[in-house]
């Protein structure tokens, strides 16, 4: 592939450094036209004559080329944002003039910050971030461990690959040692259990006699309770008890509570004589409860169903699961089954009358905390049930009962107590029984799959000495050689220094002398390798002053951590070692291979998550009373839609434009059902064509994107507008300024969202950003806080007790028409989407900058403009196809330079 060479020369010759500097300077410069504003409103007190607060603006340079000047302008911005300057008793600038000044100053400030923190291409050495560390252990040892104890490496605003922001501390070093030890233990256990095969099936009809017995017990207990009540009432009716009964009745809220005082009524029998023993608490409570025989009709309804001799139904939670559990089926993976790959299988059918929204099965671990891992639509019928297979991995982290108890349950039937209770009482009101039974289970099974035939993970293969103490311990020479091979593998092909191996060997010896057996000493020694700098850091030696091209191995590392978030595999390292990887055509082919590999998910997910700011999805929960359809499984599917769509476009090398507008979605059955779209064939995410005029298709049509633009209850046009500007239009509003006085006068008033936000236009401090943000948000108002399409919205004020006051309810039809600031008008969401879609060049620019930062591990500065331009040029020739951006970046000089 020639372009690399051409591109290189183009970069070197076409962009003199001075030009870049000039470009940078002009962005971080206030326009001269604002001189007048300063003269008219500031210099009276902060000029040549007076310098109130020892601050003057007449000498203030309009170019923010150093920190000092930037700080002074920041002060100007802060004072004006907080409304303190110009002082109230001085002549005020017009609203528009102030807004314009603030808008420019805010943007120039952002540019100045960016330009002053520009690393000018220097890449700070970086350590593996949290997820790369996890993936690297996975590639090395074949096991995935929980690394959530490590710091998340996000938070300073940049990508988690930016070396300058990846810190290290003593605590962390110790965590690496602990985690390394854990990974080794896990890996050793996998090896020991490689050949183990296990299988266990639970026949669901096991539950039928339990339910039969429970119903019989409920009927019997009710009868006994009635008899006891009768006896108590008889005693209470005795004339000599009149006085005490009157007093007790007065003290008791109802009959049941009255009966709790049976002991004080002479002649009333003990509940225990009727078989009610509440083990130390008031026995009357048990009798009272039994009288109600809670959910007896529902339990009897259950027993009237067909096929109970062959299976069981998944119902609702009626009584406490310890009493009777018709809500879910659990399967405990026996404690002595080892770590490894497992498959869960479920034979399941939907009942004939089950409505479409109730034909979904949730699978997860530990029903009480309800972590849903997979959700399947059930297409099998009672005549022809289907078998579902769910692969899963059990690790040492699954040691506790709760963490190895698998469960299945009807989707969303009990995500939360409130939600389950709501569904239950709704059905009860409708039919007097409870929710109809919709899913039938024949059996559930768990199987451990032997993995002896799989190739050993490279770290284990490199050791090639016994990992347990069954065989005689290897000789010191053998251990020494094994340590060297392992360290070399762990250091991604860099040979470990000889002294280092000697030190490791000494550690091993000390442990052995202290009484450790071989396996324990080995594990301890290897854990030191996994917390050594050569493992933790991606090293590219070189001086600050002189840039140099990367070596083959360094390039392999950079490429693999970019496209896999994992170390290079043997093949890539091989090509790197022989220098072939430095040839453009080999590099191009490897780029394609890496993108085609399943490990590319490590890139897609992490990049997408950070690029699109998806952490907000987990910041809050949906209000389930308002949005009952957005249950746990749906939220998970909605979040995954974003990853899956980007993954799809990358796999199929689709155009980036399709993320702005598309005639298809990439969804699974759960989400297709939520969107009301048909045509999903398999059980995973797949591409489905959309009917015409669908609001779906592209990022704006995704439920999770719109969900993020709200708070789980109401939509936030501001969040949404700012997100579109930041992520789609590459025109980020400046960060929310500190200390802007809040608008409080509208609180408690009943207004439409539109009316409320109009207040932003009044104060210039607000208007300077909001006039750009808010109109975009208005155009998205047809999506509710769960991302469902709606045509009207309503608002209720809350009363003094914080409860919504229905008297104040105001409902309105959504008007999505708006005019973009200094831009075109649109009449509805579709119009807005078309405008956004027409700006694919801006979107591509933002995407390129994000890729640069992520891949190179440093912020994308103004000095990177030529690189961004070249990526755009190359991609535009190919209709902005996703992989073109990657190809262009990988073949750029920057990607090859330390």
């Amino acid at each position: 592939m020639k372009p690399f060479v051409c591109l290189l020369s183009a970069l070197i010759f076409a962009q003199p450094v001075a030009l870049i500097a000039e470009e940078t300077a002009s962005r971080a410069t206030m326009n001269e036209r604002h001189k007048a504003f300063l003269q008219n409103h500031c210099e009276g007190c902060h000029g040549a004559e007076k310098q109130k607060g020892k601050f003057r603006v007449d000498h203030l340079s309009f170019s923010m080329t150093n920190l000092e000047t930037a700080e002074k302008w920041q002060k100007v911005l802060n004072q004006m944002n907080s409304g303190e300057m110009p002082p109230e008793d001085e002549p005020q600038p017009s609203r528009d003039a102030k807004a314009d000044f603030l808008e420019d100053l805010s943007n120039v400030m952002v540019a100045a910050r960016r330009s002053l923190s520009d690393q000018r291409g220097a890449i700070t050495m970086r350590r593996l971030n949290r997820r790369e560390y996890r993936n690297t252990l996975r590639e090395l040892l074949g096991v995935e461990i929980n690394v959530s104890e490590l710091p998340s490496d996000t938070g300073t605003g940049g990508f988690d690959t930016v070396g300058a922001n990846l810190f290290m501390s003593g605590n962390q070093f110790e965590q690496y040692q602990t985690l390394g030890r854990e990974a080794l233990t896990e890996a050793f256990e996998w090896q020991a259990a490689a050949g183990v095969a296990k299988k266990l099936r639970y026949e669901a009809e096991t539950f039928t006699p339990i339910m039969e017995k429970f119903v019989a017990h409920q009927i019997d207990a009710r009868e006994r309770a009635r008899n006891w009540v009768k006896a108590v009432e008889e005693a209470a009716a005795l004339p000599e008890n009149q006085e005490v009964v009157a007093r007790l009745k007065k003290e008791s809220k109802n009959d049941a509570i009255f009966r709790r005082s049976w002991e004080k009524i002479p002649g009333a029998p003990s509940p225990r004589t009727f078989g009610f023993d509440k083990k130390g608490e008031n026995d009357a409570d048990l009798a009272n409860d039994s009288l109600g025989a809670g959910w007896l009709p529902y339990h009897q309804y259950y027993l009237r169903q067909p096929a109970l001799d062959r299976g069981a139904y998944l119902g609702i939670q009626t009584l406490h699961p310890a009493e009777i559990n018709a809500n879910y089926i659990e399967l405990l993976v026996p404690f002595d089954w080892p770590v490894g790959d497992y498959i869960a299988r479920i034979r399941v059918a939907a009942t004939d009358d089950a409505p479409p929204e109730r034909r979904f099965l949730d699978f997860g671990i530990h029903a009480r905390t309800g972590r849903v891992m997979a959700t399947h639509e059930i297409t099998g019928s009672m005549e022809a049930p289907q078998t579902i297979e769910i692969p899963l991995t059990l690790t040492r982290g699954n040691a506790e009962r709760a963490d190895r108890t698998l469960f299945i349950r009807e989707k969303g039937s009990w995500d939360t107590n409130e939600e389950g209770g709501r569904k239950r009482s709704e059905a009860l009101k409708r039919n007097g029984i409870g929710p109809e039974l919709a899913l039938w289970i024949d059996w559930m099974e768990i199987e451990r799959v032997p993995n002896a035939s799989k190739p050993k993970p490279p770290g284990i293969a490199a050791l090639s000495i016994p990992l347990d103490d069954k065989a005689p311990a290897p000789t010191p020479q053998e251990v020494h050689a094994a340590l060297e091979r392992f360290a070399s593998e762990a250091f991604r092909g860099t040979p470990p220094p000889p002294n280092y191996i000697n030190d490791l060997m000494a550690l091993y010896d000390v442990r052995r002398k202290a009484g450790d057996k071989h396996a324990a000493a080995l594990k301890e020694t290897l854990s030191v390798v996994l917390s050594s700098p050569m493992f933790l850091y991606l090293v590219e030696p070189g001086s600050d002053e002189k840039r140099r091209p990367l070596t083959g191995l360094e390039l392999a590392n950079r490429l693999a951590y970019f496209l896999w978030a994992a170390p290079p595999d043997a093949k890539l390292r091989d090509l790197a070692g022989h220098g072939e990887l430095l040839q453009p055509e080999v590099l191009a082919a490897q780029t394609e291979r890496l993108l085609d590999d399943p490990r590319a998910e490590g890139f897609i997910k992490a990049f997408t998550h950070q690029w699109l700011g998806m952490d907000r999805i987990d910041f809050f929960e949906i209000n389930r009373a308002l949005y009952p359809r957005f249950d746990t499984a749906t939220k998970l599917a909605a979040k995954n839609e974003i990853y899956e769509t980007i993954g799809y476009t990358m796999r199929h090398n689709a155009s980036l434009r399709e993320l702005l507008k598309a005639d298809y979605v990439v969804v699974n059955r759960v989400l297709a059902h939520f969107y009301g779209i048909s045509g999903v064939k398999g059980n995973a995410f797949e591409k489905v064509s959309l009917p015409e005029n669908s609001p779906r298709g592209g990022l704006l049509g995704m439920a999770a994107i719109q969900f993020m633009g709200g708070n789980g209850e109401r939509t936030s046009p501001v969040e949404r507008g700012a997100w579109v500007l930041r992520k789609l239009l590459h025109d980020p509003p400046p960060p929310a300024p500190a200390n802007v006085p809040a608008i409080t006068r509208l609180a408690g008033k009943v207004l439409t969202t539109h009316e409320r936000l109009l207040a932003h236009q009044e104060d210039p401090q607000c208007a300077s950003c909001h006039r750009k943000i808010d109109p975009i948000g208005f155009g998205l108002e047809n999506f509710d806080a769960a991302g469902q399409w709606r045509t009207e919205d309503s608002y209720q004020a809350t009363d003094a007790n914080g409860k919504p006051d229905p008297k104040t309810k105001k409902t309105w039809t959504i008007e999505a028409a708006a005019v973009l600031h200094k831009g075109p008008a649109f009449k509805d969401y579709f119009g807005l989407r078309d405008i956004v879609a027409s700006k694919s060049d801006s979107f591509a620019r933002g995407f390129s900058s994000a890729l640069i930062e992520y891949a190179l591990g440093r912020p994308c500065g103004f000095s990177d403009e030529p690189l961004v331009e070249s990526m755009l040029q190359q991609s535009e020739k190919k209709d902005l196809k996703m992989r073109e951006f990657i190809r262009a970046l990988v073949s750029s000089k920057e990607f090859h330079t330390k």
């Binding site: 907080s82 910050r113 700070t124 938070g155 501390s169 070093f173 220094p497 050594s532 030696p541 408690g748």
Partner: protein, 430 residues
């Protein structure tokens, strides 16, 4: 390379000044323990991320002095009115991030101070104190964190509220169980074995240090300073091991409280963490503590469904967001009030209450919403000898670091300045 001599040499040659264990210090401690000694000073910082409710948390700014009316948000603290002061008018002038309630709270740093970098921080006030107060305790300082994601609680970047001499984040203990074990888990290993284990740990450090040095060869300046973090981390462990060595044979104190239940969150978590802080002071395990409190789970534990960030933006709708914000204030005040009760009720060996020897600051870099001025600041404890019982109003935008400097001076740490301080806060001088 493996001899202890070399390692010591490495420690001495480092840029940071490391207090090597002086053999005398142990002897001195034992000798000193025989004579009655004034109880030591302690410094405690309690930080919450998302600020407070401006309208109901601050006393009337126009009526400073001792006769102020207790605002609703502080009502649960009324019984301690004479024993704390509220200071208004303080801020970190470089703070710009509306979601960073703790990152620069104790440092006053300018995140943009370093050209070519987009994040910079400097040493936090607690660490300035720890360099002096930490010499004779088992832990130089303790950093405690809420058991949840710090970002959800509005704390901003950082591994705790503490930042070291070079402005790098210092790790903290997450939640009460971890903190409890760090403080009170008994080491029942025989002394000889403890020494052997220390020696082994040192060999591990020597091994990775050797590896780091091999790696350092050929690195440029920026990368070298990045790798310095690793060296610094190892140095910190070395210092800790030296401390451990110094403390071998000195049994861990008996925990004055039972082991906390796992899984505590929100209100219960804070309550237990306060007990642990009290226990750490009581047993003189450390004299410098910071606690980055959970806010997100605090709301959940109160049954509040409003998202924490949303809550701080209560101005737009008031209603339930304001309600959430105020309930948060009340609960936090209640918890603090309980903590002050216990500090007063617990006695030093000389019979004086712990309270008299503690300097305590409670607050956030965020006031409300994205407001970073008039940072909520409550100061208490008799340790720093500051003026208590007053509503103090400092001139607008006085550096928050002036307050920190005043506390440092008050507990005998005579730093010349801290962060962007311009001097001590004269309004605080009793």
């Amino acid at each position: 390379m493996n001899t202890p001599l070399n390692r010591r040499h490495f420690l001495r040659s480092s840029t940071a000044l490391i207090a090597l264990p002086a053999l005398e210090s142990l002897g001195f401690r034992r000798f000193a323990a025989a004579a009655p000694l004034a109880p030591p000073k302690r410094l405690v910082f309690l930080g919450f991320g998302w600020g407070i409710t401006t309208e109901s948390w601050f006393p009337d700014i126009k009526k400073p002095g001792a006769d102020y009316e207790m605002p609703a948000g502080l009502a649960p603290l009324a019984r301690h009115k004479a024993d704390f002061s509220i200071v208004q008018g303080l801020c970190n002038k470089y703070s710009n991030e509306g979601h960073w309630g703790s990152t620069m709270w104790l440092t006053g740093a300018n995140r943009f101070a370093e050209p070519g970098q987009n994040f910079h921080n400097s040493i936090s006030a607690d660490q300035v104190a720890a360099a002096k107060l930490g010499l004779n305790t088992r832990f130089a300082s303790l950093q405690l964190n809420g058991g949840e994601n710090a970002e959800a609680s509005g704390h901003g970047p950082g591994l705790s509220m503490a930042w070291d001499l070079s402005g790098k984040p210092i790790g903290g203990h997450k939640g009460p169980v971890e903190a409890f074990h760090r403080l009170f888990s008994k080491d029942t290993t025989p002394i000889e074995q403890q020494k052997a284990m220390l020696a082994q740990k040192r060999s591990v450090l020597d091994t990775v240090l050797g590896n780091a040095r091999a790696l350092q060869r050929g690195l440029g300046k920026t990368d070298t300073s990045k790798l310095d973090e690793y060296f610094q981390g190892i140095r910190d462990i070395e210092t800790r091991l030296s401390k451990d060595e110094q403390w071998i044979g000195v049994p861990q104190p008996n925990a004055p409280l039972p082991e906390p239940q796992p899984g505590l969150a929100g209100r219960e978590e804070i309550k237990v963490m306060y007990d642990i802080i009290l226990a750490a002071i009581q047993t003189d395990s450390t004299r410098v503590l910071t606690y980055r409190q959970p806010v997100s789970t605090l709301l959940t534990s109160l049954g509040i469904k409003v998202a924490p960030h949303d809550m701080s933006h209560y101005h737009s709708t008031m209603g339930e967001k304001l309600d959430a914000s105020q309930r948060r204030d009340l609960t936090q005040s209640e918890l603090l009030s309980g903590f002050l009760d216990k500090l007063k009720a617990t006695k030093e060996s000389d019979g004086t209450p712990l309270f008299d020897h503690v300097a305590l600051a409670y607050g956030s870099n965020i006031r409300t919403e994205h407001n970073l001025d008039n940072c909520p600041t409550l100061l208490s404890g008799g340790g720093a000898g500051i003026k208590l019982g007053h509503s103090i109003v400092a001139p607008k935008d006085t550096p928050l670091c002036n307050a920190w400097l005043t506390l440092l001076h008050g507990i005998g740490v005579n730093a010349e300045r801290h962060g962007d301080s311009t001097g001590v806060l004269k309004e605080l001088i009793a």
